[in-house]
Structures are given as C-alpha cells and as structure tokens.
Symmetry: C2
Subunit: 304 residues, 2 copies
C-alpha cells in the first residue's frame, strides 16, 4: 500500500515507521523534522527493539506526495481546520482516510469535507514521545482499535487491521467505533487531564489515595455518559479498575497532554473535553468532575 502520514508527531512517526518496516511505501508529511528525516532517516527506540529506517520519504507538502491508498491522520485536533488543504491532494477515488486523532468529532469533520464513505477512525493505545528531530521513542503499548465511520461492511476495516497486525502493530477492527472512542476517553480524560493540570506523571497521581479516587470517580462519570450514547453494548463499571491496573503498570509515564503543557503547546481541550461534555449533556448527563477539570485546565493554560 502507498500510505501518507499527515501529522507526523510521536504517533504518526511511530506507526508510519512500523508500516514502512513492514514493507509499505510510506510518505511522511513533515514540518519540524523536514530538514532531518529525508537526509538522515528515522530512528525508532522501542521497547520491542530499536531500529533505523533509511531512506525515508519526507515531504514538505501534500502536493509533492500525490495520491495514496491510505491517509493516516495524526494531527493535533486543533489543526483540523487544515484537513482540506493537507488531505485533498492525496486522494484518488478509493483512498481511505483513517484518523487516529484524539477525542470526538474528527470523523464527522472529515466526512463533512471528503464524504463519509472513505472515512475510518481508530483509537491508539500508544505510549510514545518524539525525541530530537529524526527520533521517536516507543515507550509502551501500541495497540490500535479501528472501525468504519459510516460504511456498513467490515471487509475494508478488517484488511486495514490485518495490514497493521502484519507490520507488528496489534490491531483489531470493531463494528462499534463510537464505543472504542469512549473507551479511550475513559483513559484520556482523567489521566491526560490531571497530569497536565498538576504537571506530575501517572504514578504520582495513582499513589496518592485522594487523586487515585478522583481518577476512578472521573472514569465512573465517563462510563455512565458513554453508556447513554447508544453503544452496541454497555461498558461495565469495572472498566475503571482495569484502567487503573493498566496504568499502574506504566510507572513514571507522562501523558501527551502533560508533555504538551510542559512544552507550552496548545492542548486538545475541544476534542478531548468539550465535545464529550456536550455529548453527555445532550443525553441529560452532567459530569461534574470532568467539567471542573476542563475549566481548571482551560484557565491554567490561558495567558491571563
């Protein structure tokens, strides 16, 4: 497959590298790493074994890349107003657009511009950070759960999932993408939110009984809201404790939103907080702790 990675942050670089290593032709749309990667290649430091790719096809514009079979979208969600400009030059009739972005609303925004038929969405359970230009660190996990946005048949999703799996990225196609999105939010909102607000890693917040309890209560609010979104089947309340155990095993991990805050970058509050809060409110569900965290995070990162 010919694949374009649009939004080559830690996520885009890691998955793009795995696909190229798996034998696919991968084109990276680059900004920060545009000087380095075409010249020196891409180094992946991974818990599964380090590797280096050379040559790597890095481009400064989508026009240079041209048409591909699959567009992998890893943009920060506040850059979604660039969808049309960045993706249009990459499309032919049957190109697939797979967004692995955070939060809610990305498939909808893509479908609005490019039609719902070609849109797929996925959630990535990946611990990775960018290093210096030309380097990505894979610290843990990496699994993708993906699904169709509107297409009723599963064949395409199954074959994309198989492509990832064969390239060494555990990947599962599911019929209920919305449920997968909410499952990811049940982790993202408490851990990204509190770690970014307090600027402390997950193990610190998990070892204080009061913040550990807050993290679980936030997950309970989200599970309740998720289960009002017409999911195929409900998420059990026990999912909260599974996520606590899962996160205990991460040790001293900084979620991406904490790193974004430490480095002064904009946070994805609209996609990760505001849209889920709206979706819950539309079903009559108030999530007081999520609301509080959203307000505190928004003000903590405002310039005032």
């Amino acid at each position: 497959m010919r694949i374009a990675v649009v939004g080559a942050g830690a996520l885009g670089l890691y998955y793009g590298a795995m696909l190229q290593k798996g034998g696919h032709e991968v084109c990276f749309l680059l900004r920060r790493d545009l000087e380095t990667i075409p010249k020196n290649g891409l180094s992946v430091f991974s818990i599964n074994g380090d590797f280096k790719l050379f040559p790597v096809a890095g481009y400064g514009s989508s026009e240079e890349i041209g048409m591909v079979d699959l567009v992998l979208v890893g943009l920060k969600t506040f850059a979604n107003q660039s969808y049309r400009q960045l993706i249009t030059p990459l499309l032919k009739d049957n190109s697939i657009i797979l967004t692995l972005q955070n939060g809610l609303g990305n498939e909808e925004a893509l479908a609005e511009i490019f039609g719902s038929e070609r849109i797929m969405g996925g959630v990535a359970f990946l611990c990775s950070n960018r290093g210096e230009p030309g380097v990505v660190h894979h610290l843990g996990a990496g699994r993708i759960i993906l699904g169709e946005y509107a297409r009723p048949y599963m064949d395409r999703a199954e074959s994309v999932a198989a492509m990832f799996s064969m390239a060494g990225v555990p990947c599962q196609a599911v019929t209920d993408l919305k449920k997968a999105r909410w499952e990811k939010l049940i982790w993202n909102i408490p851990f990204n939110g509190t770690c970014a607000l307090l600027q402390k890693p997950v193990n610190v917040l998990l070892s204080n009984q009061r913040t550990r309890c807050l993290l679980r209560d936030i997950m309970f609010e989200l599970i309740q809201a998720a289960n009002c979104q017409s999911l195929s089947n409900p998420i059990p309340m026990a999912y909260a404790d599974e996520m606590l155990d899962f996160t205990d095993a991460m040790g001293h991990y900084k979620p991406s939103m904490q790193i974004d805050r430490e480095e002064g970058r904009e946070l994805e509050l609209e996609a990760i907080f505001a849209r889920p809060l709206d979706a819950a409110r539309q079903k009559g569900i108030i999530m007081p702790r999520v609301e509080a965290l959203h307000a505190l995070l928004e003000e903590s990162t405002s310039r005032s």
Copy 2:
C-alpha cells in the same frame, strides 16, 4: 478589656490593632514579628486610613502575657495541636476564647480542652495580608460575624460584638454560628481553592466564563450541603450569585490560601476541605467538584 492575640498573622494583627486603637489593652503573642513590633510598633495600612501603634505589647510566650479577659485565636488551623500550650496560661475563671480561624472543627477542639462554656466562634470577612515585619495591610472588608459555641444566652456574644463595633470593626452576634461558618465556607472553598490551585487571583478566574461557572457550581454544592446541617434557616441558592458579585468588587485579590501556596506554606486543607466534605457525607451529600478540588490541591502541594 485585656485581650491576648494568639496567632498574629494578618488577621490577628489587624483585629488586635483595631482593638488597641479602640482603647483596649492588647497583648500580641508573636513569632515572626517578635524582634520588630515591641521595638518599632505596628503599622496598619488600611483602606479606611493608615495608622501606627506605639508602644505595642508583643511577647514571645503566653506565660509572659498572663491572664486576660478575651483570647482572640487567629492561628492557622494546622497549628491547633498547640492550643493547650498557648492558651492555658492566659485563662482565668471567666476568660472567653474567641476563635476566628477558618473552616470547621476549631470550636470543637477548643471545647474539648477548655470546656464548651467559654468558647465563642466567629467568621471574618477580611481582605488583609502581612507586609514586612511590623506591618499589616488591610485591603478590604473586615466584618466579623460571631456567636456562642454552646452557651444558650446571647448577652456575652452581644457585648463582644459591641466591643468590636465600637473599635471600628463591623460585628454582628448571631444565634446560629454554624450557619455563619458554612456561609464563609461557601466563599472560602471555591475562591481559596481554585486561586491556590491555579495561582491566579479572583478577578482572573471570574472573567473566564468556564471557571466562573465552576465557582458558582461549587457554591451550589456547598449551599446544598449546608442546608442539610440543621441550620436555623436555609441559605438561599441566590447566595452564590451574591458572592460572585461581592467578589467581582474585590478586583485583583489573592485569597490567603493562594498567598500561602506561593510562599510555600502549608495549606489549611483539613479544616477548610476535609471536615466540610465529611460533614456533608455524614448527611448523605456528595460534593463532587469540592472533592475534586480537594484532591487536586492536596497533590499539587505535596512534595512528590
């Protein structure tokens, strides 16, 4: 009246100064200002007019002060384990102990040691900060609402209130001290809590619509909890908007907990957060936003 001020922070220094200016014999138990005040006196920079007191009776121990008619307690609540040592030498048969400390549990702790008959409590609506040693700044308000802890007659409370009023401190004696304490918490918890957490003054948090809404929702939780504490009559929900208006008028004000945090001092989380949360929980009321704020504040000020 002979009065001892125990806990001569911004609150103790200001009210002690007003009482001395009003003609009472005031003895200050000092720590930080022990070198300065006996030598140079006490300067009050007040919105109602600056004044300077000299001489000022400052002491390093309660034994040197000896017996007084009224003990004014302005200690930080995490110093309450010093009650017995600091207050015992000041008492004669009919000495009154008036605590103007923050939060819940102070009258109970004093009554446990000194008997409930002599205990009075009050809440201070005072904007003041300490300056350099020998200086206190009175930035706004100053009103005290006080009441008896257990004594059924109002004569003593009325006469203490009259003493403050005649000394230029607006003061009202009320029969329901518990209600006054909760009214103060309805301000203290949202404003001290969020300003200390985000390290921003009240006007910044009031001008962001999302944090303004959070502040009001926190007050709603507290009003609901207060109204389950067998108060003489309920606090109306409209009290929240009154407090927003009252605080809008303060402008760029930093609550004391924010200043404590900025200066690396311990916060009064037990008296101001943990005890009210417990009191609510005992009546079956959960305050999710207050709980979240408490957990975040506790972790944000822990050394981990």
